[in-house]
Symmetry: C2
Subunit: 276 residues, 2 copies
Amino acid sequence: MESDDGEVPISGRGVAKVLDSRHPDYKKGDFIWGITGWEEYSLITATETLFKIHDKDVPLSYYTGILGMPGMTAYAGFYEICSPKKGEFVFISAAFGAVGQLVGQFVKLLGCYVVGSAGSKDKVDLLKNKFGFDDAFNYKEELDLDAALKRYFPDGIDIYFENVGGKMLDAVLLNMRVRGRISVCGMVSQYNLEQPEGVHNLMHLVQKRIHMEGFLVYYFYHLFPKYLDMVLPYIKQGKIVYVEDIAEGLENAPAALTGLFAGRNVGKQVVAVSRE
Amino acid sequence: MESDDGEVPISGRGVAKVLDSRHPDYKKGDFIWGITGWEEYSLITATETLFKIHDKDVPLSYYTGILGMPGMTAYAGFYEICSPKKGEFVFISAAFGAVGQLVGQFVKLLGCYVVGSAGSKDKVDLLKNKFGFDDAFNYKEELDLDAALKRYFPDGIDIYFENVGGKMLDAVLLNMRVRGRISVCGMVSQYNLEQPEGVHNLMHLVQKRIHMEGFLVYYFYHLFPKYLDMVLPYIKQGKIVYVEDIAEGLENAPAALTGLFAGRNVGKQVVAVSRE
């Protein structure tokens, strides 16, 4: 992808309308989501990164989030990796993230019990009061994560949706139930450490016969139509809470980006480059 | 299980002939393997721990090892947890153990490449020259386990049969291939540590989409007939190497037991309490 003056624009996940196409699958007027540029007009040659939008009865921006990559991540990581059953006990770390919020709601819609951890009181309150989590806690206020998990899961954890790694994973291993499943989506607490923290309790994998599996969403996109069949009705019936923070105009994109790192966004940060 | 004088004998895995039975599945003259006592005559009430022996064309003592619990452990941990495919690269730690020796041979019979680690030059030589491993190394002589694994697996590891944990697991994670599988049978290097070593490289689970699973053999015994169908022909055709170290007489059992901890046994330690 290259702009007319030869400079390569920043790329990101966007929604766009096809103005012209030489690809047999896309014609003028189609809408797509996928890897696009931070620019008003894009020439996209990597069409394998694109998905055609068929249902336009929802805000098109949703295809950058709940109906796009984060949504598919939540779906694949929970349903495909964890094989959840109604009534199970589910724990989600970094639960206020774009993926965690969705996983928690999928958990509730399936009829499971869900607790999330997050890094501030505000996020904890929102998880409980807006996103429908059964409970949530601020991991920064817990000196003993094992004790915290025992408080929220006196009968143990069946499914752990892992976003953070390190000490939290160690505490979770102590609290997993027999035949538990750990879906490893990320280990964000470890990425910026010179040496990742050690995880000491992996022996629990044996006695509890735990299945732990890492995954990348890219290998589950063949399930996208199945995901849409599940999630679109929920969205239309108002059964899923999804919050966007929309910056208007490409000129506001840089500020929106830096705002992410300062935690200024409320919900999924979207930049409206243009509107239909 | 209780002896006549009310003292509970040491229990262990044994083979026995039924002398009398009130259980409908067992009749006088049948042979069984399972949890028996260190004694000449046993009263066994926990019959759910017993398996009837149908094939007596092999040494009966084999039902304490290759045709018993260690054999089923090797079978379940390799075939059921790892879903191996011909041509894959397999690494086994503590490969000279009763289970590791068998896994390595199953790997070769399937047409995979197998390397094992062990703790002495003698064991390494036997793995290569007697048990048919493609290669083997003494982990105590390797200052850098990552470098050692890269030497033996320049293209990476598809399947890791995990018996030790700790530093070895950390090095293996660096060398796993995409969609690799780690069957966690045990973590013997960690059992006697006050605080288990930390494992730092679990982030590789995500990028490489690795499946890691702990297991206990007890939950795979329903596959025992299937295992026998596979392994008995191999044994009868001489395609599997299996070594026993037989102590004669119950009076020699204590010395045989302490010999295990001193590494005096050569192969599976068996005590012949009586013979047919």
